[in-house]
């Protein structure tokens, strides 16, 4: 702060106070200057007075209009004191500058708080408003002080001095207060700064992480795209080529190569490369340590650029070869392909993928790039496995198709053959039978005429031979029909006991002639009336017994028939299990005749085979009889076998067949399916169906319509009461819905129809038929209860019972 100094404009240059000659007779340009001069002179005057010198004269200043003053100061004797040396700057520019500076300082001091307020008002966040106010006050007061200073450059009144003093005091107070408060504020502000710095650091860190994530995202995207490319094709070569191309592009590789194991598995052959169009086909042995290292782990491994698998191009003098990474790609062995276990463990074959970064680029393999490579290798393995699966399945399918075609052809051929044979047989049968018939008929006729003994013998022989031939033809036809399964049993009810007796009657004449007594034993529990193929059973028994008679020269023949139980002796591969109304009939024919060599027994049942013994030869027979019998027995779900102890010891023929026990004692056949008399009963029967559930209603109606009733349907109790009339014979009401109201309807119907014979029968359809429901129904006067859902047969039975008895509580 500048004190209003008295700038002495004139230096009194005197050696002594003696002669002070101030000559101020010159023009004073401005009032200001005049004022200054006045002040100086006053000071001089004071000084002079102070030194107690006589002042002789001191004319008061009087100001001329033309601004000149004259002062006369007389001589004095005065000691000059060198200590007081008022300085009178001669430069009025300084004053000017000071004045202007003060003014500008004041302006600045006033404008700073304004700016502060303006900007703080604009910004939303400034926590130190009180500080601002204080600071503002402090600055304003300083400014005021400077401003007031402007007035004190010249003489000023006491008011101005007072104002100046007040301002200064206030300023002092406020500035001290501000200083004190800043002690508290500044650490806070500094800490804000610290926090700001911290946040900035954090933001930078997050930015970095974002960058990283973005890179990873990029990589991920690349992987997905790569995978999509790789998996979009099932062709091996395309897969591998695409992999290399895409990897090369994504990672900006210099070279990318795939080494596949050779057939022998001892070497790796360079199969695919990225840049070179025609890769030099050279191989490396598979047992290199670097290769083992790579194959030993599923991760991507950095290998030296100088290893044999990485040296794909001739080294062209590059200084720094790019880093190389290798990864294994599992391959599947096509021939041992198991669908169920993923061949992670079973495969030991790997291909090697080698990736090289560009040389001279100082690029390094980053972790995420390595991960990408591993992922891609896995994807390639998967894609290759799919391709392998596809190949395999295509091959299998082709094979199957071929087999199908072959089978088809074979089947058609077989069918053609069978048809041809059947046609042949049919034709031949007819063609052969006609002449045969003629021969037999005419021969027998001839037999009746008068013949000489020789002629008779000849005719008999002709007859015998022709009947033999006829039998042979029949047998052949039967057998062929039996063989291709077109023979079916003709089931009917017949008397078993009578059958045996008939057989015996047929055989008896021959047996009597040969003097072989035949006995028949029928077990007491043998059913009398059975269901089976009578004709064929007779054929079997006849055949067996006939054989027994034929091949016995002496002894007796016994025929036993019984119902067999499971613990009877039977061939080990056949178990007899009587089921239901079926039973197994066992017939044993024992003879004491020639017997059979046990070794020949298996041959007996084969077609046309004959044992060599003379005895059998002479008795003729085509050898088909037993084969046919066996076929018939098999058709009847039975078994036939022969036991013999040896030649000359007789033999026993035993067979089991399955027959059904007949219920009726009549001979007429029993229908297997009961007849349907219902339509007669129910035609036109008027019934009413009440059910809230539309679906159930429709079903019940369908049932009754199918049975021939005339059905009316209603869906509510009220409607039911409205519609029901004496014409309806039966009312079916659904009582499933919870609540007792359903049963009220029954009471109301009872009320409506007082006469019993007019009232329709009431049947409840319900979801459960336990005792309580039934009791409830009975108590409400219902005539019957049916369990939902109702089957057709149930409904039929119920209706017939109901109409007969007018009450029904057993229907389920």
């Amino acid at each position: 702060m500048l004190e209003p100094e008295l700038k002495l404009l004139y230096r009194i240059n005197a050696q002594s106070w003696k002669d002070i000659n101030v000559d101020v007779n010159h023009k004073v340009e401005s009032r200001l200057k005049l004022k200054f001069l006045e002040l100086e002179l006053k000071l001089l005057h004071c000084l002079l007075t102070f030194t107690k010198q006589n002042v002789i004269e001191f004319d008061p200043l009087h100001i001329n209009p033309n601004f000149s003053i004259s002062v006369t100061v007389s001589n004095h004797m005065m000691e000059v004191c060198n200590c007081i040396e008022p300085q009178w700057p001669a430069d009025e520019l300084l004053m000017k500058y000071q004045y202007i500076s003060d003014f500008f300082i004041a302006v600045a001091y006033f404008s700073i708080p304004l700016e502060l307020i303006y900007f703080v008002k604009k910004s939303a966040v400034f926590p130190y408003r009180w500080v601002l106010v204080q600071f503002g006050a402090f600055i304003v007061l300083c400014g005021a002080t400077h401003l007031i200073n402007l007035w004190t450059f010249t003489t000023h009144s006491r008011t101005v001095a007072l104002v100046m003093t007040t301002a200064k005091v206030l300023t002092a107070v406020v500035s001290c207060a501000t200083a004190l408060m800043l002690v508290h504020i500044i650490p806070d502000l500094l800490s804000v700064k610290t926090r700001e710095l911290f946040l900035k650091n954090k933001a930078a860190e997050l930015d970095r992480e974002m960058g990283l994530i973005r890179t990873q995202e990029e990589t991920g995207r690349h992987v997905r795209m790569l995978t999509h490319e790789i998996r979009s094709t099932l062709d091996r070569h395309t897969i591998l080529k695409t992999t290399l191309v895409e990897l090369g592009r994504t990672l900006a590789l210099e070279e990318c190569a795939l080494w596949m194991p050779t057939r022998t598995g001892l070497e790796l052959q360079l199969s695919y490369t990225l840049r070179q169009q025609h890769p030099v086909e050279y191989t490396v042995p598979i047992q290199l340590p670097v290769i083992n290292q790579v194959f030993g782990t599923s991760r991507a491994v950095k290998i030296s650029p100088n290893s044999p698998v990485a040296r794909l191009r001739p080294v062209s003098g590059k200084y720094l070869l790019g880093e190389v990474v290798a990864v294994r790609v599992p391959l599947l062995h096509l021939s041992n392909f198991q669908i169920n276990d993923w061949p992670e463990l079973s495969t030991k074959r790997y291909a090697l993928m080698v990736l090289m970064l560009p040389s001279d680029s100082a690029r390094q393999w980053h972790v995420h790039e390595l991960e990408l490579v591993e992922v891609v290798a896995d994807q390639v393995a998967v894609a290759l496995s799919h391709a392998a699966i596809l190949e395999e399945s295509m091959r299998a399918r082709d094979l199957l198709m071929e087999q199908n075609v072959a089978l088809d052809i074979a089947r058609r051929e077989a069918e053609t053959a069978i048809r041809a044979r059947n046609d042949f047989l049919a034709v031949m049968n007819h063609e052969m039978r006609t002449p045969m018939h003629a021969i037999i008929a005419l021969s027998s006729l001839l037999q009746e005429t008068e013949l000489t003994p020789e002629q008779r013998l000849m005719v008999e022989t002709v007859l015998k031979s022709s009947s033999l031939l006829a039998t042979l033809m029949n047998d052949v036809l039967d057998l062929s029909r039996l063989e291709d399964g077109s023979l079916q049993l003709e089931l009917g009810t017949f008397n078993l006991h009578t059958l045996f007796r008939e057989v015996l009657n047929l055989i008896k004449p021959i047996a009597v002639v040969k003097k072989l007594p035949i006995t028949l034993n029928l077990a007491p529990d043998l059913p009398e009336f059975v269901v089976g193929d009578e004709k064929r059973l007779m054929q079997i028994i006849l055949n067996i017994v006939g054989n027994a008679v034929k091949f016995s020269k002496q002894g007796s023949i016994s025929v036993t028939a019984l119902v067999t139980k499971s613990d009877n002796r039977a061939p080990p591969d056949f178990f007899v299990v009587p089921t239901g109304s079926h039973f197994y009939l066992r017939v044993k024919v024992k003879d004491l005749g020639a017997g059979i060599n046990p070794q020949d027994i298996p041959k007996l049942f084969t077609k046309f085979a004959q044992t060599q013994s003379l005895a059998t030869r002479s008795s003729g027979g085509s050898g088909l009889g037993l084969a046919i019998s066996k076929r018939f027995v098999n058709l009847m779900e039975g078994n036939i076998w022969i036991e013999s102890e040896g030649v000359g010891k007789g033999c026993t023929a035993i067979f089991d067949v399955k027959l059904a026990i007949s219920n009726e004692s009549k001979q007429s056949g029993i229908p297997k399916v009961p007849a349907n008399p219902q339509h007669v009963n129910f035609a036109g029967l008027k019934v009413l169906v009440m059910d809230e559930n539309g679906v159930s209603r429709m079903v019940t109606k369908g049932l009754l319509v199918h049975l021939g009733c005339e059905v009316t349907t209603v869906s509510s109790n009220e409607e039911c009461l409205r519609v029901v009339s004496h014409e309806h014979r039966v009312v079916f009401m659904d009582v499933c819905t919870p609540g007792v109201e359903n049963y009220q309807i029954a009471l109301r119907i009872h009320e409506k129809f007082t006469k019993r014979h007019q009232r329709p029968l009431l049947v409840a359809l319900t979801g459960n038929t336990d005792k309580s429901t039934k009791e409830k129904c009975m108590s409400f006067g219902l005539d019957g209860v049916l369990l939902k859902p109702v089957s057709l047969d149930n409904m039929r039975n119920v209706l017939s019972d109901l109409l007969e008895h007018r009450v029904l509580y057993e229907a389920m």
Partner: protein, 155 residues
Amino acid sequence: MDTLVAQLQRQFRDYTISLYHQGFLDDQFTELKKLQDECSPDFVAEVVSLFFEDCEKLIGNMARALDQTGNVDFSLVGSSVHQLKGSSSSVGAKRVKGLCVTFKECCDSQSFEGCVRCLQQVDIEYKSLKAKLQDLFNLEQQIVQAGGRIPQVDI
């Protein structure tokens, strides 16, 4: 080579048997089929479509009732379930009926989550049954158009 008709018939038979084995249909459906003859040739189709309409309506009702969170009218839900159970047992929709039984229990115990779950299951089930029966009917139509006869399938 099998004729088209024989192939279709075989397909139809297999499909029908599979539906029974998987538990979609039971004997009641067989009974329904018995009721279809010359007088009512579309009986089964009509009943089945009625049943599905019923299903939709009932399921809608139940969904609305269950939507009133806070005061769910379980008795309303219960009566709808009861109706659905009756319908499904009339038609022979075995799985739907089974689900209705469970649903009824949830209603009786007033378990909201159980009811919602059951409702969802019933919805899924009836829709899948609808799709399957639609396939079956399509097969029948194809057989008829190819000039064949719809085979009788004995389960």
